[in-house]
Symmetry: C2
């Protein structure tokens, strides 16, 4: 199996697969012509990584998860800790974005958006000693 087939199977770009090899996530064999040759194991690993990435795990978390996956003696607690930590990070990010969204939403609503120059958005950016306002309607 060449890299193109693996890309099609896993949905990962070939570039990404090469990159994953470069950083040591996978180590496919080589044909005599220098082409990477992938077996089921590699494809499976790449699928695993792809799914973990799509859940927002960092590359290093993926590396750890993969190691745990291949360790038949792992404790599920180790995995759960990583997932939990990541979950908290995601929650924090969501909260941050929501705060941004609230402020931004208020500003957008308050702006007439016409040909005139008066703009509450710019005024706010210009002077407000930025603590995100909650409600003031």
């Amino acid at each position: 199996m060449n890299i193109g087939d693996v890309a099609a199977l896993t949905g990962l770009p070939a570039k990404t697969i090469r990159y994953y090899e470069e950083i040591g996530l996978i180590t496919p064999r080589r044909d005599t012509n220098g082409y990477r040759r992938f077996g089921e194991g590699e494809v499976h690993k790449l699928g695993f990584i792809g799914r973990a990435r799509s859940l927002g795990f960092s590359i290093e978390e993926c590396r750890t998860l993969l190691a745990l996956y291949e360790d038949r003696n792992r404790a599920s607690a180790d995995v759960k800790r990583i997932a939990q930590g990541h979950l908290e990070l995601v929650d924090a990010k969501i909260a941050e974005l929501k705060a941004m969204r609230a402020t931004l939403g208020h500003l957008v609503e308050s702006c007439a958006g016409d040909h005139r120059p008066d703009c509450p958005i710019l005024e706010d950016l210009a002077v407000r000693p930025h603590k995100p306002q909650e409600e003031r309607g």
Copy 2:
């Protein structure tokens, strides 16, 4: 005013302020000794940028907003369009994170997190043809 004072006033790291000069967001004068000298204008600009950044606007968006701010003939519609576009991006990001959070939350809940090796999180990453599961149990 030296860069340290400006950093204290605006809350931006000195490194960041230097970076903003490098990319042309600001152009402070120089003292004879080579130190950057900041006036009120610069400090005001930096505050503006800092607040815009904290709302998630990109540097290039900040550049545009700043230009609009300084253009007395701008139309508020131009500003609103940028903010609106950014708002949609933020909403998309939130939605994406929420989807991740949901899947991740299910997985974390379903994992015992003890000394045993059985782990639904790893099993899911290993085999699931990843469409985020909604509800199941």
